[in-house]
Amino acid sequence: MTETLAAALLGFFALGYFMLGGADIGVGMMLPFLGRDGDRRRLVVAAIVPFFLANEVWLVATAGLLIGAFPALEAQLFPGLFPLIVALVTGWIVRDMGLWSRERAGARVWPAICDAAVTLGSWTVAGAWAWILAGLLTGVTDDVAGGPAVALLAAVVVALFALHGLSFAGLRLPGRTGGRSRFAVTAAALAGVVLAAGARLDFAASAADDATLRLLVPAVAAMLPLLLIGQVLTWRLFRHRVAGRVSA
């Protein structure tokens, strides 16, 4: 029973990451397309920058819960997917550094370096996720999967990240159309892929001891309201489109 609850929580955090974090990753991938010049790219980065912290914590929580509640599954997945996870984390830190540092120095060269870091990092993150998810979908949970089916599925997932980013850009950037329903559609598509991949994992056989879960699950459940308050505040506070004027 507690392990079912723990699996549900894990799914909740994973879906949160892909539906919310997927949006800012997608915008990062599309940065050169959405922003043709430096000023416009500044606006695109400004559209995602208040969100990326609040979005990536969902993944940190997913990984934490995986280690805490399903240690055996973690011990199987991580070493098997080693190179993909190294690529994922590297892409992640490169893109975060670009997002954090863009405004901190210089007018042209440094922002251009940071934009390149955001774009490359975002593609790396999306690509690593696509490969991992495609492998899981084909039933490979302890190794890096290969073959045409995996490549095709991975390409679809990468495209979904990009489309989801465009939906988010439609909500946040001036001069782009799109509404909440389009965002909901691309979010649901990503969620579907994640759920299908998660269904391939054996949670029951890899759960932590019941004594641990009986402490962990209620503690997390008790914290959920505060977690969600922070999320709701963030999404409310920054719900408008970013300002169109660009100051020097």
Partner: protein, 393 residues
């Protein structure tokens, strides 16, 4: 080097790099929360400006702390699956608590604080920095629950193919955890105090126009570092007593060994002594407003002292962690048995990737911090703020 040595070195470099940022972030968050409280409650303009200036430096540093922390979290799973497999019920659970109960909230509210500067009302904005500070403490606590258990495994018993939690209260009140927690907090305040004093001294030495601003900041830094050093001596002494009881092999390494653990301990003690005597001098000199602004030789010394707390912190960690060897969970699981079954090429690939990334990160962080610190606070009548980004970014 073989897989085990590379995995250990990689983790040591990751944890060390992470801690360079954490030490300052944890202390600076506290300082900023107090400054902003004074700015908000007393409507004090100079404290509001201090909050912004030191807040910018804090945020630059925090960003580095996050990304190195991410690598650490994932590395536990990548390189040390034997540890999560054997001790997941305790170590994994406390790491899960850290991510969910502490980091998730900390990071979300940090985003609200950074980007909501002019959007949230001032009390909500003040509340945000306090949530960030308190959850940062909680984060340190939960990490040290995992680390304290690895030093002194209480509250669990072997069962099945690993450890089972038998007494949660014993795990949560492990003396190895609690002493280390207070030691890290006081050490972080020392780091922040030396940082404030050193950066302020640079401006006073250069006679930049903000003598009042940096004079007060310098005094705050000196006044924080003194008591914090005292606290870190007490909590450090308690830990030395404790390891004689719970880790006699570590004590032996310290008192008669010749390896990295002893070198780390001695370096920590020497650095501590230097900071202690320097702080006595600082407390005297900071009594006079005139001396604070004019004593240029002292300013040079304060700038040169910025790295000292880092040296003490890192060497203290080397003592704590290397002194535990060959165990990863003291007396129960060896480091050799904890390392993942990885090919030499896989670990070499990740080692080169992460070490390169960290070298770049530390260089960028130092450059950005120095650049921002040099620039000084915003003018009293601020010009139009860039509209597209948070005030601090």
């Amino acid at each position: 080097m073989d897989v085990l040595e590379l995995a250990r070195l990689q983790f040591a470099l990751t944890a060390g790099a992470h801690f360079l940022f954490v030490a300052l972030t944890l202390g600076l968050a506290t300082v900023i929360a107090v400054l902003q409280t004074r700015a908000t409650v007393g409507r004090s303009a100079i404290h509001a400006r201090m909050t912004r200036f030191w807040g910018r430096l804090y945020v630059i540093n925090y960003a580095m702390g996050i990304v190195t922390g991410l690598v650490m979290e994932f590395q536990l799973g990548l390189s040390w699956s034997g540890l999560t497999h054997f001790a997941g019920n305790v170590v994994g659970a406390s790491l899960a608590m850290e991510t969910l109960v502490a980091f998730f909230v900390e990071s979300t509210f940090l985003g609200l604080w950074v980007f909501g500067w002019d959007k949230l009302n001032r009390w909500a904005h003040l509340a945000a920095i306090w949530v960030v500070t308190l959850t940062a403490y909680a984060s340190a606590y939960w990490i040290l629950v995992a680390n304290g258990f690895m030093q002194n495994p209480v509250g669990a018993a072997p069962g099945g193919d690993g450890l089972r939690l038998t007494d949660a209260a014993a795990v949560l009140t492990n003396p190895s955890t609690l002493h280390a927690f207070w030691h890290v907090l006081t050490g972080a305040l020392v780091t922040a105090g030396f940082f404030l004093a050193g950066v302020s001294a640079w401006h006073l030495l250069r006679r930049t126009p903000e003598a009042e601003f940096f004079g007060r900041s310098l005094r705050i830094g000196v006044l924080i570092a003194g008591p914090a050093l005292f606290g870190s001596a007490v909590t450090g002494g308690l830990q030395l007593q404790l390891i004689q009881d719970i880790q006699p092999h570590k004590w032996a390494e310290f008192s008669e060994g010749s390896g990295a653990a002893r070198v780390g301990a001695l370096l920590m003690l020497v650095t501590y002594a230097a900071m202690f005597f320097f702080s006595l001098l600082n407390a005297l000199l900071a009594l006079s407003r005139r001396v604070i602004v004019t004593a240029h030789l002292w300013h040079v010394a304060l700038i040169a002292a910025i790295p000292l707390p880092y040296v003490a912190m890192i060497s203290g960690w080397v003592f704590r962690e290397v002194g535990r060897q060959p165990w990863v969970v003291d007396g129960l699981l060896t480091t050799q048995d904890a390392v993942s079954d990885l090919s030499p090429s896989a670990i070499r690939f990740s080692f080169v990737t992460f070490v390169t990334a960290f070298a770049v990160l530390i260089a960028v962080n130092t450059w950005l911090l120095a650049r921002q610190a040099r620039r000084g606070p915003d003018p009293v009548a601020p010009g139009p703020e860039p509209v597209t980004q948070g005030v601090l970014v």
